[in-house]
Symmetry: C2
Subunit: 699 residues, 2 copies
Amino acid sequence: MQWTKVLGLGLGAAALLGLGIILGHFAIPKKANSPAPQDLDLEILETVMEQLDAHRIRENLRELSREPHLASSPRDEDLVQLLLQRWKDPESGLDSAEASTYEVLLSFPSQEQPNVVDIVGPTGGIIHSCHRTEENVTGEQGGPDVVQPYAAYAPSGTPQAVNAAKHGIAGVLVYTDPADINDGLSSPDETFPNSWYLPPSGVERGSYYEYFGDPLTPYLPAVPSSFRVDLANVSGFPPIPTQPIGFQDARDLLCNLNGTLAPATWQGALGCHYRLGPGFRADGDFPADSQVNVSVYNRLELRNSSNVLGIIRGAVEPDRYVLYGNHRDSWVHGAVDPSSGTAILLELSRVLGTLLKKGTWRPRRSIVFASWGAEEFGLIGSTEFTEEFFNKLQERTVAYINVDISVFANATLRVQGTPPVQSVVFSATKEIRSPGPGDLSIYDNWIRYFNRSSPVYGLVPSLGSLGAGSDYAPFIHFLGISSMDIAYTYDRSKTSARIYPTYHTAFDTFDYVDKFLDPGFSSHQAVARTAGSVILRLSDSFFLPLKVSDYSETLRSFLQAAQQDLGALLEQHSISLGPLVTAVEKFEAEAAALGQRISTLQKGSPDPLQVRMLNDQLMLLERTFLNPRAFPEERYYSHVLWAPRTGSVVTFPGLSNACSRARDTASGSEAWAEVQRQLSIVVTALESAAATLRPVADL
Amino acid sequence: MQWTKVLGLGLGAAALLGLGIILGHFAIPKKANSPAPQDLDLEILETVMEQLDAHRIRENLRELSREPHLASSPRDEDLVQLLLQRWKDPESGLDSAEASTYEVLLSFPSQEQPNVVDIVGPTGGIIHSCHRTEENVTGEQGGPDVVQPYAAYAPSGTPQAVNAAKHGIAGVLVYTDPADINDGLSSPDETFPNSWYLPPSGVERGSYYEYFGDPLTPYLPAVPSSFRVDLANVSGFPPIPTQPIGFQDARDLLCNLNGTLAPATWQGALGCHYRLGPGFRADGDFPADSQVNVSVYNRLELRNSSNVLGIIRGAVEPDRYVLYGNHRDSWVHGAVDPSSGTAILLELSRVLGTLLKKGTWRPRRSIVFASWGAEEFGLIGSTEFTEEFFNKLQERTVAYINVDISVFANATLRVQGTPPVQSVVFSATKEIRSPGPGDLSIYDNWIRYFNRSSPVYGLVPSLGSLGAGSDYAPFIHFLGISSMDIAYTYDRSKTSARIYPTYHTAFDTFDYVDKFLDPGFSSHQAVARTAGSVILRLSDSFFLPLKVSDYSETLRSFLQAAQQDLGALLEQHSISLGPLVTAVEKFEAEAAALGQRISTLQKGSPDPLQVRMLNDQLMLLERTFLNPRAFPEERYYSHVLWAPRTGSVVTFPGLSNACSRARDTASGSEAWAEVQRQLSIVVTALESAAATLRPVADL
């Protein structure tokens, strides 16, 4: 019964509900009219905060989620035009906007031959069929544009079995258990449209491709002329037919299974004891020797998918980019995923565009707005963009801000990001009032839900680390650009749902958001204000608000974990952590010294070139953690601090993973050599990071 | 008879004789005292040109070449101290100087068991022995510090044979034929110390390691803590024992060989007909069934080798580096290789250091002087340096200037470099008088020896392209930094010597240079002035004098070669050059437009930040041609325009090589897929280059 283990796949993340208005009091007085260099203007910031309008976000969302807009569908193309129109608006548009199109390999179910999951009786007749579509409970789950539930990139095929072969599985069925998504609830009257929970017929779609980016053009932009890998040589697709089903259908299958009881952690809320098979129960709904037939007819298709890019040209440093993006494509209507983010993107670009067109404001640095295509299939639009513009993005990008699902729920802010962005998010959120009752700032509300004890700052909100759940992945892992993902999310004391319940189903609609996730759209507004403030601070501040010394805490905690949990093991194999200790100490010292130099300069009237140099050190620090040769088997992942960690010790991922593999091998094995190699890679990266932070004329 | 084909190995390059004084007239008037940004100061430039002193260069060379200074030897360490002392001198030193030491794997002959090449008679007795040392003709070829001739990194072993196995060669003897090195001359009275030609006992040492950098730490700096590859897994060492011998000994072996006549192109100037063996002639000096015994006792040793780095801090843009370097280690005295370059390095640092210490001058950008260790073993010091400081060097380095052997001969300047450095070398050399009679500039003299017809400029001196012959290799191939190598060299109508005749022998001494290569040291002075002017122009000019549009000619010529010589073949396999044409055209247009924008700005009073942005585009253009995944089998080589080309068509190397391999395979083969992949890699790089040159707020 592999399927219960397949739970949790998909490219989304986690969320709560709230309300928000901003008081907009800013402590620092605005500078007098002087020849001082252009810096963050607090009046402009306050204006932007005030003008970000919950009602307009709601109207954006209504339009964006009006129809299903699967990647490369006609409606997806319509939304490209909608974005272009908004960003070229003479009253509220940007300096320029354009669509850029890639030819990418997507995967769709067949229109003519729907994927089917049937129970076939002993005589070969179909005695039960799983639902092929979700139930049309609000009138939005029907229609030709609602794509049939499927597992993208799963190969076609028609395996027939009931968990027959423990080794040699022929096909996979995937479902979402009410225990994991619905806090255990499963009846129609307890689920949408009567609550935010997933109806029994809801099926979670998703991409089952292992890597990200266009599968045929790894490391090359998927322009028509680019070399494409032969399909036979593509790696990362699921090896066997796979199909997602709703928990209603899963109950029919699972509750009739025979065999030994599944482990306790595999049990769920379908109202029966889950068994492992093989075969059906003699006293169940189906003859014991019935079989499950899975027929998958997915097809791979080369399709055009567009990114839309809009630019506000920087007044002083146009070659420094603050990138802000979200994907546009959804599985069905995608009101939450991704339109809740796109609704904010449009409102932010409207407010900033209006100031721009009025001549009131132009940022110090350039701001690039991006609407990515085909994210749901594997972050394809954003990845192709980073492949096409690798060099200039790596050289010039200050930070990447991602707002995909902006509101999972309305309890609290949740930010994932690398340490240098922590301080700018803190600065922004301390000045914005939290939605909901009371007079808390977003920061003060946030710290109640996610917090940690920092050796430097005491109790602070805790940032999560960036995986590969949305379009920030190529920016942080492939380009080494400091990145963050911002959303409002859950009160975990109120729900244990893995993610908002209608995720990737046909029930993720405007009404769902409007009635259940964020009535009044105050959480949307809070996220818009947070993102807006972060963008303005990054694009307008004379000194870049990236605090690289905040990496010291991460490095120190990784080092301590290595010492405590791997130190003895490494010593047994004559591997010393000494050079790592030295490298971390060097980083800490250089980061602190750079902080001091900045503080000193900030008190004077520094030359713009001097500040530019310091800012470049801050901007480029994250790049020093990249090593394209560190993880040859992990496509695109080259950040030695944030690459995927499979080892159990929460330390440098290369070290953790290599130790986990070497643990049971003898000294002198290749696995132990790899441990030493990974240790050297980290030490070299940290030494390189420290060298980048040193005064620039010291080698 | 593989050996005659092994000729030409070694890590040096090619040179003539001359005399030079400078008139030092500069056309452009110095700007008035104004708040104009710091720019190239022509008075300072003139002062530097005047103060670069031939006599001091001669004295530097005398001291540097006084003793053999093999990498990591005590005398090599003494020279580290000499450099530190000069660069820390309070009157003429730099802002800072330090040595940085790596622990690297070198290869030496055994002191106790010298390598031997003997002829063993039929009864097993030695009937002839090759010389173990060179003849002590000037008193400098003896002594314990003159390393025995050997092939570094050749494994030890004692094969015995006379070309016995055509397939399954057991050992290799290498010699330099008088036809290749001595214009055919070989008698003692025709060779050094009676002429510049190699004496009969001279043996060319060299490294036989296939890659560059420390063999145990590819891609990691060879600091003591770094992971080292297990010796058994090191690739790139010669597989069989190898030993170099002099042509005197080669004559004894070769002129007594039996068998069929060797091909005409293999014949040389030893005064006999070269035969292929096997066995010796019955009527020769040795019994026909004699054998050649080669005993190699080379040992690999981990040794400390230092780079010395000296820095002049930039006044305005200290985070932009102009790097100027040469290696310090030699095989024996190394008066030409490398001390002729180091003598200039010291004189240039003295002249600039003196202006600095007097407070007369400080460059706009930082200047980094480097004395690399262990170049002769495979560019080890420079490569480790680029590995240790990869990020900051790649982000900040304007250009790398290499002067290794500064004077091969005294006829003409010879420059190898990438296209963006052409214009700064032209500007410099037009203003410096050529050594020798007449009133020519170095430029006007140069164009008489090396020239080409440029579609843009008409007849101009031609720059050579950069291989891997000296320390520029890691900078251009691994880091993508615009680089050049400067020297004075031969009149090819007067000699066909492959390189100056005493290259890598114990006859490369001070007297050799003083009497034969450059009496009066005027060619040394000319190279010092050229390098000095280039350094000042790169470090002091407000607008960087890197003309990226000069890459257009290279790209256009590569494209034309591809069209003419590969077009039909590609078409047969349905591969279009259309996207490459488009990419080259885009590059040409963007480079020209950028040139226009710069010209326009130069007429006004541009803001320093504006100029910095343009300069960054110029500086970083070369980086866009790097692709670390382009040539996975070629260690460090990632520049898609200058990687090694094995295919015969002079075009993009990846395309040329892939076509050469695919030519005889069927359409649809993996080899043809690789052609398409290489084509896409080049197109992507050129598109990326064009994107980098576009106005910075256009994506």
